[in-house]
C-alpha cells in the first residue's frame, strides 16, 4: 500500500514541479491573466462612471467578471503545449491514476494564474470603491471560487485540446458551468452588505470547491483520453 502511495505522491509532485517550472520559464504567459484582470477592472470606471457611488454598486460584479475572464484566458495553456509535444501521451500512459495527474496540473495552473488575481483583488477593489465591510467577502469568495473556475475550465480544455481551430468553443463550454460560482460569489458580497452572515455563502462555495476537486479531474481525465484518441 505504502509503495502505491509513494508512487502516486512522486508522480503528483513531479508533475506539479514540472508545470510550475514551465510556467516560471514562460514569464509572459505567467503575467498575462494577471495583467488582463487589472486592465479589465480598470475599464469599468472609464466606461461606466468615475462616480464613487455608482462604482461601489458594480465593483463586486466587475471584479468577479474580470476574474472569470482572466481564468478563461489562462485556461488554454493547461494541456495545449503538452498535447503538441507528446507529453500528454506520457501522462496518459502513467501507471498512476490520471485523476491525481490532472489535479496536479490544475493545482499548478491555479497557483500561477488564479492566486495572483486573488492576491491583487483587494487593491483593485479599493480602486473601484468597494464598500469597506465587503473586502473579506470578496477576497475569501475569490480564494475559494477561482480554483472552482480553474477545475471547471480544465474539463472544457480537455475536451477541446484535440481540435485544430477552437475559437470560442472553450468559452461556450466553460462559461455556463461557471455561472453558479459567479452567483454565489457576487451574492456573498452584496448580501453581507445587507447584514447576512458570510459563513453561509462561504460554506456553499466550499461545497462547490469540494465537489469540483473530487469530480472535475475525473471528467477532465476522461475527456483527455477521448481527445488524445
Amino acid at each position: 500500500m505504502s509503495a502505491a502511495v509513494t508512487g502516486v505522491a512522486g508522480a503528483f509532485s513531479a508533475t506539479l514541479k514540472r508545470d510550475l517550472l514551465v510556467a516560471y520559464k514562460r514569464k509572459n504567459d505567467l503575467m498575462n491573466p494577471f495583467m488582463f484582470f487589472i486592465i479589465v477592472a480598470t475599464l469599468f470606471p472609464i466606461a461606466i462612471s468615475p462616480d464613487p457611488e455608482q462604482l461601489s454598486m458594480v465593483s463586486a460584479g466587475a471584479l468577479w467578471i474580470a476574474a472569470l475572464l482572466a481564468s478563461l484566458l489562462a485556461m488554454d495553456n493547461l494541456f495545449r503545449s503538452d498535447y503538441e509535444d507528446g507529453s500528454l501521451e506520457q501522462l496518459l500512459l502513467s501507471p498512476q491514476p490520471l485523476y491525481f495527474m490532472v489535479l496536479a496540473k490544475n493545482l499548478s495552473h491555479w497557483l500561477v494564474s488564479g492566486l495572483p488575481v486573488v492576491l491583487v483583488s483587494p487593491l483593485i477593489a479599493y480602486m473601484l470603491n468597494l464598500p469597506d465591510d465587503s473586502y473579506w467577502a470578496l477576497f475569501l469568495g475569490l480564494l475559494i471560487g477561482t480554483p472552482v473556475l480553474s477545475l471547471l475550465g480544465s474539463i472544457g480544455v480537455a475536451l477541446t485540446v484535440g481540435l485544430g481551430s477552437r475559437g470560442l468553443i472553450l468559452a461556450v463550454i466553460t462559461l455556463p458551468m461557471s455561472v453558479p460560482v459567479l452567483i454565489a460569489g457576487t451574492l456573498a458580497v452584496q448580501e453581507t452588505q445587507n447584514g447576512a452572515s458570510l459563513a453561509g455563502y462561504l460554506a456553499i462555495m466550499g461545497a462547490m470547491l469540494l465537489a469540483a476537486i473530487s469530480l472535475a479531474p475525473l471528467a477532465s481525465a476522461a475527456a483527455l483520453r477521448i481527445s488524445v484518441n
Binding site: 512522486g10 507528446g86 507529453s87 491514476p97
Partner: protein, 248 residues
Amino acid sequence: MGQPFLAKSNERKAVFWVNLLDMSDSPQASPAEKNNSNTMLVAESLFCERDDRILFQHLNFELTHGQVLQIKGNNGSGKTTLLRILCGINDSYEGAIFWYGHSIRARREEFFSELLYIGHRVGVNKILTPMENLRWSCNLQRSVADQDLRTALSAVGLRGFEDSQCFALSAGQQQRVSLARLLVSKAKLWVLDEPFTTLDVEGVALLERLIAEHAENGGAVLVTTHHPLTVPQLQTLFLGQLPEGESR
C-alpha cells in the same frame, strides 16, 4: 495520416490484408495458449477503420519475451494507429488485447507500469532542459534518483547538454532525450514509433544495441521504422498491401 493508398475515399471494397512473415517459431495464439508464461502481449482479431477505410482486420499476433517485432507498411497503412491501439491510447478498435492473459482495458495500471511508449511526438518540452524532461517522464513511472538520470543522459550522448534548454537542441538530440528513458525505465515492453528518423549513424547504432540488449534480457520491443534493422531477434509484421516482389 497520409492519403489512402488503395481505396478511393468512399470505396470500401478494396482488399487489405495483414500478413505475418517469419513467425514460424511463434504460432498463432489460440485461447488455450494465452496463459503461456512466455507470452507477453496477445492481439486477437483486431479491426480498425478510419474514415470508412479499413486499416486492418483479423489481425492476430502475439509477442513473447525476447522478441523484436518490426511493423512495416506504406505511409498511411496504420502503423502508428496500431501502436497506439496496443498501448491503450487509441480506443477505437474492435477485438481484444491481452497482457499476460488479462485484457489491457481491465488491467490498465498493471499494463502501463510495464510499458514504455515513445511516439512520433517524443514528449520533450522545449522550454525545459533534458534533465527536467527526463526527471518528469521517469517519475511518472516510479521514483528515480537524479544520478541515474545523468548517467542515462550521458549514455545517449547528451553529456554537457543536461542543463541547456531543449530549444537549443537539434531534433536528433531531442530524440536522444526520449531514448534516455529506455535506459532508466524497467518496463518490459517498449513501443517505439519511428525512433530512427532523426538519429545520426551513431544514434542508430546505439538504439539498435539497446533494442537487442532489451530483447536479450527478456523484454519485448514493438517498433515501426523504414530503416532496415539488424537485430538478431527481429520479426516482421506487414500492414496493408505487400510490395511487388515479396511473397506472402
